[in-house]
Symmetry: C2
Subunit: 334 residues, 2 copies
């Protein structure tokens, strides 16, 4: 069964295609179509269940009402929760989302941008990887709105929304120090994005400000794409060879692996060994004892991302470089 076209409606209503199009697009008044015709056509549209073909529409108008969302991995709860919020808000404004996981792989990311480009998405929301600066700048040069979130790229001048990672990390370490911790470890990843380096810098600065020497043996950088067993092995080595009394995990999945290790080696989190995780997770509240975590304000991030995107979509001007830094919150659980 072929679906109806505007032509069928026009024939049925005995008016021209143009007239129907004007009515559909709410330009009836402006083009001074008579009430009688408007009503007749609207009735027919309603009765027939006609829906305009978005593809034809896109081809003609050049925009698709689709926003491309590129994240690292949709199965990571941080991203899936953000994605859900963004989807919700975009939907309310009539935009749909096409999403894809980049797996932090530059080639895949580039390919995705091409994909999105050929689908003529109206705007991009990207949690970027290093190495796609040029591709993004190309988009910006074409006047396509691009908003970055979670990680900023210094060489890309556009809107960005992210949490204050430096400060949150600093605070976490400071809270350890105030508890009297001396040998504080950091388990982080080797991906070279601002968001991650900031966490390291916060760690270093806090130590420095409290006159604790930085010891590189206490910082473990886990390779991004390796499997969990290997990650756990590395963390285990840290725990067993260094006499640490506190650890900050720079991502929630690292924290989960770390907690598994602790369980395995039967080391308890408590007064003499404390843990903070970056990015909260349901598991942390349920853990015994409960695990402290840095919470990013997901709702606020999503809200701002969409705000920036919509504002760029409405202006036709080049994207302005507007960085929105929202505070992250350290939740101390005990």
């Amino acid at each position: 069964m072929k679906s109806l076209s505007i032509k069928d409606i026009a024939t049925k209503a005995n008016v021209s295609i143009t007239t129907v199009s004007f009515i559909i697009n709410g330009k009836a008044k402006e083009k001074s179509i008579s009430e009688a015709v408007i009503e007749k056509v609207e009735k027919i549209i309603k009765e027939s269940g006609y829906k305009p073909n978005q593809i034809a529409r896109s081809l003609r108008t050049g925009n698709s009402n689709i926003i491309g969302l590129m994240i690292e991995d949709i199965s990571n709860s941080f991203f899936s929760r953000i994605a859900r919020l963004i989807e919700d808000k975009a939907y309310k404004k009539g935009y749909k989302i096409i999403y894809s996981s980049t797996e932090n792989n530059v080639d895949k990311a580039k390919e995705l941008i091409n994909m999105f480009k050929s689908r003529k998405v109206d705007a991009y929301i990207i949690a970027p990887t290093k190495g796609i600066e040029e591709d993004i700048n190309q988009l910006l040069a074409d006047n396509t709105p691009v908003i970055l979130f979670d990680r900023n790229l210094p060489d890309v001048k556009t809107g960005y929304v992210g949490a204050d990672h430096f400060h949150a990390s600093y605070q976490s370490i400071e809270s350890f120090i105030k508890q009297g911790k001396k040998k504080i470890a950091l388990v982080t990843t080797d991906i070279n994005v601002q968001q991650i380096t900031e966490r390291l810098e916060g760690y270093q600065k806090a130590l420095e400000d409290h006159k604790i020497a930085y010891d590189e043996n206490l910082v473990v950088k886990i390779h991004f794409n390796q499997d969990e067993a290997e990650t756990m092995a590395q963390i285990k080595t840290l725990f067993q060879t260094q006499n640490i009394d506190a650890v900050l995990f720079a991502t929630n999945y690292l924290a989960i692996s770390g907690l598994k290790v602790l369980k395995e080696i039967d080391r308890k989190v408590g007064d003499d060994f404390d843990v903070i995780a970056y990015d909260d997770h349901e598991a942390f509240e349920l853990h015994t004892p409960r695990i402290s975590a840095v919470q990013q304000p997901l709702e606020e991030i999503a809200e701002n991302v969409i705000k920036l995107v919509l504002s760029q979509l409405s202006k036709k001007t080049k994207a302005e470089q507007l960085e929105i830094i929202v505070p992250a919150k350290l939740i101390i659980r005990s």
Copy 2:
């Protein structure tokens, strides 16, 4: 900067649009285009970075290489993990995914189907809600492939992939009984989908087969869209008013709420009170003590879903009603 069109390439290569199109679509041989021309055109395409406009292509061919994925909620880890796997596999076959969360809301689901329809998606993958049978049947009548997963709809005759919920539930209860449990509760939701009712039936049948009387006070149906505080209150009431010695949670988020309650009322999971969760979650392995769970084989589900979709896409025939039931696995942790 306007992007290149096939016309620009044709002009540059001094051939017709048709020729370029044939080459792009790999029909050069078949249409007996000379090697020389093929090379020339391909070189120009490569150099210029030309990418065909998918929208125009879709308009002309009637298919979009997009698969619509409708799930309950992308921020639920079960769905986000499945989504990731499906995305991956679809991507490898050249298909992109547009996804949307239905929130188990019939109206939203219907609206989404319309949305997808007007975007001419090539196929649908749906974790359906009750009430959209007719809309789906409409799609099937138009010969559009639709594959259901996670929940089946009896009134829809099409491909379906899901786990054997009845059996997994039965097994879980049986394992309680073998431990000597007598008062076994079930915390489930009130959404009326096969997948959920099967879990209840498994519960009932296991009790019956082991001559334990069914007590409706031990079954709590939590309203789907309510907030967590209320859910926890209901579960708390169950725990405090009924003298139960085991509980099966029918979804992972219910189990998480339930575990929070246990923590709150300081009741320990252990020999005299056991818990099994349906759908595994990282939190369960980390919990002290570790929580047993029913694991659905995500990879296998995703694999089969994609297999069915692709098979439907290749045949032009009406969807065949093929139900693939994969076993779920009870992971006993202690």
